[in-house]
Amino acid sequence: MPTSITEENQINRPTKDYMISDRELISTDIEKYLSRHEEKQILKFLTCGSVDDGKSTLIGRLLHDTNTVYTDHLEAIARDTKRIGKDDDELDLSLLVDGLQAEREQGITIDVAYRYFSTSERKFIIADCPGHQQYTRNMATGASNCDLAVILIDAQQGVQTQTKHHTYVTHLLGIRHLVIAINKMDLVDYEQEQFEAIKSEFQSYLDSLGNPDVQFIPLSAKKGDNVVARSMNMDWYTGPTILSYLHSFPVTQIRDFESFRMVIQRVNHPHDNFRGYSGTLASGTIQKGQSIRVMPSGIETKIERIVTMDGDLEQAFAPMSVTITLEDELDASRGDVLIDLEHPLQPKSELNANLVWMDDDALNMDRKYIVKHGASQVLAKVDKLYHQVHIEDLSRKKMHSLQKNDIGVCKLILDRPICCDTYSRNRMLGGFILIDRLSNRTVAAGMINSSEEGEMLGELTNTSSKISSSKTFPVDRHASRPPITRPLPKQIATG
């Protein structure tokens, strides 16, 4: 597969070719390659940025420089680059990822898209999320299954309201590892001062979010600096490139192997001699013979068998999909939750939660919605709107309604109790969606808190007073600043 298109790309050729050891093995010993490839783990991450931050270009660059792009796809984007009337001297890598016709023509990303690439070390799944504020819902969607977020900042623009918005939403969705990619460094002459200024400006915001694990990386997605290849233009930066950071990030970091939880998806009862409970372990491990509890009944029983088509297992762990048979005959069904004895789970019919509203129609507090949680659907009303967090300075404000893309802390009252965890403890048992009964649309995503304060935001509210909006976030700073270099050419402005 081709590795470079233009002369400019040649300069930033990967210093370590992550495919090379693979490529040798592929031609000399394919079986060995396959057994090595099998050991790779998956890292899921999302990318988000404001319009024109160069997000699609960054992903295109990652795919291109890891040799993931097929020749016929490159040929197709070369044709598109011309057809859309962009300069043809440089391939527009963003076209590799802007999937829908409208997106290619308008040069924006409308919907979350999923991208796949692998290196000799890992397999990666990217949730490529739209930048516009009105697409918060898509960003939340992308973040819900990810372990890490790459947030883009345009080096010319600095920290924007949207940057905070993206950071806040990923934080709310439970992502604790961030890469802040300061892009378009080529347009600020690769100046360290600009990088450091943006970094220190943003650091105080991150501090107030309880200081998630953050790596700042200066890069130019368009030119290839510090994406896969180390930049020749920024000697002052000694940290990792994006790809080397993604390689070193420990994938197993977020799993809870202590408290066992499995939602029963389906009772597998093909004949009188077999009754199994099928599901995917949300967390924890189980052993054959272990005592467990069936919720919400609370009945204690023992695991008789852990059944799979490849044979019975002695033990299973999250996120395996298995079928469990129990020593006692009891009346368990879809929606019930199997748990271990040491980590109890209380059925709850009142929930405190963060809600991300996703529908065109605002929340109607007189109306009942369907809460889909685990494998249960329960009718519920939003009983109270406590407050909304002002994303700019993380202060609280009073909230009277929830409109599309609003985020608020609420109390829900359910028609019947559900067995849930808090979201910070367990994403699968702490997250839920709200469905409109008439339109069937998914209208909101919910993250369960332990109290009305919102435990995930507890850290925020304690420290939010530290942020002085006038000093830390000079609102008109960029408006008054003359452009550092030439204006952004249209053909790479595509976010």
Binding site: I26, L100, D111, Y114, Y116, S144, Q253, A318
Partner: protein, 313 residues
């Protein structure tokens, strides 16, 4: 306090480690089980290709020791390779599957790959036929083997992809899909296309076929086959319905197929790969995607997006 595993405090991390194929398998099994639990009348759209073979294998795993609790539907244009049909019937018999075969009989003789352009042919014999079959059997959920890495507009599709009463896809108005909470609530005249292989890549599929020893149509393996060169690709002369142009004589070439469909529209590649590892080796060394051999994708830039908006799989 919850025990949170980190690289440092997890001595048994190797023990609690799923490989990427195991993780993909677990996700797909979860999806199969959700659909069977939440829909009244699901069906598996069986195209006989390698992705369908993987889909079928995962379905067996999801419901083991029970049988697959839904039928398979094959939309037969009557122009599939003969070996595909033999394979289909053998697999259905071996596994005791409830196989339904549907053909758009009204146009069966009138619309062929030779009488009409590929767009018209696909619209009528595949998309139309699929819609008719879904309506005939009143299926409310249909599993398909599509993957997001296949093509640009696919990358945006949900795992549960709602189709309206006309079976159309509205890419701008998709439901947000969070965690593994799939919204399966639909109106009675709507249906949902389900894509359990969304997160698999072509390489994952082949790797899994190799690892699990999954049966696939022999056309994927190279051997001498009678072919003619058309549109810069090799077309196999699979039966005597193939209309040869003047001067065209079939020659035997070592070829295989990277994707399978209707034989007059499926381009073969010259290859010596006759085992799954050799196929994987070839895919990794060639620079071209698997859709390269499919004649129906060509045409306008957004051809696939348009076809799918109209109800194609």
């Amino acid at each position: 306090m919850t025990f949170v595993a980190t690289a440092e405090n997890l001595p048994s991390s190797a023990e609690f480690h799923l490989t990427h194929l195991q993780q993909l398998e677990a996700e797909s099994i979860y999806i199969f089980r959700e659909v069977v639990a939440e829909f009244d009348n699901p069906v598996l759209l069986y195209s006989i290709g390698k992705d369908s073979s993987v889909l079928l294998h995962l379905a067996k795993k999801a419901f083991y020791p029970g049988k697959i609790p839904f039928p398979l539907l094959h939309v037969d244009t009557t122009w599939k390779f003969r070996e595909m049909i033999q394979f289909r019937d053998r697999i259905a018999k071996e596994y005791g599957l409830d196989l339904k075969v549907y053909t758009n009989e009204e146009y069966r003789h009138e619309v062929t790959p030779f009488t009409h352009d590929s767009k018209t042919y696909t619209d009528i014999m595949k998309t139309e036929a699929l819609k008719q079959a879904l309506e005939l059997y009143e299926f409310d959920a249909a599993f398909g083997g599509a993957r997001r890495d296949e093509e640009r507009s696919r990358a945006k599709e949900r795992i549960f992809s709602v189709r309206d009463s006309k079976h159309q896809w509205d890419p701008k108005n998709q439901r947000p899909e969070l965690w593994q909470l799939f919204n399966s609530n639909i109106r009675s005249n709507e249906e949902v296309r389900i894509f359990p292989l969304s997160n698999w890549t072509e390489l994952d599929i082949w790797h899994y076929i190799h690892q699990q020893n999954i049966d696939i149509v022999p056309l994927y393996f190279s051997k001498p086959r009678p072919v003619v060169k058309r549109n810069n690709t090799w077309i196999m002369v699979d039966d005597d319905r193939m209309e040869l142009e003047t001067g065209e004589t079939p020659t035997n070439k070592e070829v295989r197929f990277r994707t399978l469909g209707c034989y007059p529209l499926s381009g073969a590649i010259e290859s010596t790969a006759s085992t799954v590892p050799e196929i994987i080796q070839e895919i990794l060394q060639t620079g071209y995607s698997e859709r390269q051999g499919r004649l129906i994708d060509h045409g306008t830039t957004a051809a696939m997006e348009k076809m799918r908006k109209e109800g194609y799989f």
